[in-house]
């Protein structure tokens, strides 16, 4: 195995593209090192991207924020601007692992891991976040929603490196929330999760809603119908029940050691309801 601390994104992309063997990108390393420890993965090349200038920075851009691929989630959680604008995105990112893991792990790493249970991903997708990608053929932007393609799989081509994600500007009276279910209070992988991003009208009815579910399908999924059901309502109980049912309808989970199909399906709806109410309150809505 070789270790390369790349000095530019271009150098990283070129090295990854040129390596015929297995490669891994190292940002926080909280997944990569676990894979190395298990012996299931033996990369020929590891490219550490943390020394690329600017990659560990959060910058304001077009009323939103661009978050570098190597920003540890603990640092993200200390950024007052992002926390105020996208609290649901940050709370998802901050739920990953322990305090120790937070000191290293990144949202982009969570995204590139390709797990449908990644805690950072539903919030990013609900936020319509866009990833900036540098590859051997240059730079492109791609919605985060289009990156995961299946468990452990992404749409990134060989040599492509995500260098940042962009969280867009928000209107007033908009907010988001993320909830996951785990058997303990910490240190587990989500058994089911839900992120909800809402915009409210002046009369406190929902103007726009995006509901995203995790750990209930091969990828994180957008529950389109659940979002539509919320629009025009003040998230009364009947609306929430219909919204939860719509979440259950699109959930296609599996039975495994962490949960059953029935449990995941039901819990996805429950969490979506609860996250919607939190987002509603955060957006300034009162019933």
């Amino acid at each position: 195995m070789r270790y390369l601390a790349a000095k530019t994104a271009g150098e990283a992309a070129a090295a990854l593209a040129a390596e015929p063997g297995l490669t891994r990108i190292l940002a926080g390393g909280t997944d990569v090192l676990v894979q190395l420890k298990s012996g299931l993965v033996e990369p020929a090349l590891i490219v550490d991207i943390k020394q690329i200038p600017g990659i560990a920075e959060i910058v304001a851009e077009d009323g939103g924020y661009r978050i570098g691929a190597a920003v540890p989630n603990a640092v993200l959680g200390e950024h007052a601007g992002v926390v105020a604008m996208w609290p649901g995105v940050v709370e998802g990112a901050n739920l990953i692992g322990s305090t120790q893991v937070q000191g290293r792990c990144t949202m982009v790493g969570n995204l590139c891991n390709g797990s449908p249970a990644g805690d950072a991903v539903p919030g990013l997708i609900a936020a319509n976040a866009v990833a900036r990608i540098v590859g051997p053929n240059g730079q492109r932007d791609l919605p985060v929603a289009d990156i995961p393609t299946g468990p452990g799989k992404t749409s990134l081509a060989k040599g492509e490196v995500i260098t940042s994600v962009f969280l867009p500007a928000r209107p007033a009276r908009a907010s988001d929330a993320y909830l996951r279910f785990i058997p303990r209070t910490e240190m587990d992988i989500a058994v089911a999760s839900a992120a909800v991003s809402l915009e409210l009208n002046a009369d406190d009815t929902v103007k726009a809603a995006r509901v995203v579910l995790g750990a209930v399908a091969p990828t994180v999924i957008v529950a389109e119908e659940a979002g539509r059901i919320c629009v025009g309502s003040k998230l009364d109980e009947a609306t929430l029940a219909r919204m939860a049912a719509a979440c259950e309808a699109v959930a296609k989970p599996i039975d495994d050691k962490r949960g059953t199909v029935a449990f995941r399906t039901k819990t996805a709806g429950t969490l979506a309801k609860r996250a919607a109410l939190t987002a509603y309150t955060r957006a300034g809505g009162t019933k």
Partner: protein, 158 residues
Amino acid sequence: MKSIPVSTTINGDPYEFLCAPDETLLDVLRNRLGLTGAKEGCGTGDCGACSVTLNGRLVCSCLVLGAEAGGAEITTIEGMADGDELHPLQRHFIDGAALQCGVCTPGILVAAKALLDKNPDPTDEELRYWLAGNLCRCTGYDKIIRAVQAAAAEMRGA
């Protein structure tokens, strides 16, 4: 595998070592530098026994490559006491019987200190969530929480 030369600072002292590209910082500390205070309980970031700080951030040293330590400032349990003077956390852990077998203790002390450096007056709940990545199988955490709070109170008073 070609070894990588690394220069780093640990507990204020300069260190130089060679490590394999896939060697963890924990293995470097324990097997190359003789700093065995950090323990490997799992090797996957799930137990916290290998906790150290890296450039001021609390991390699991099993989830850091030795190669990443170049130019970094690292602190370990071996650097917590000031010579013979125990840190208040260390003293309160002994006085409060906050350790039984003691193998998780170095990691918990390092983690607790990182919290108190940031937040000198945490609630029990904040403390419990901060320490959730440090497994202790002996104590049920009760006396650990009490000892950290006792140390925090003393440090606030000092």
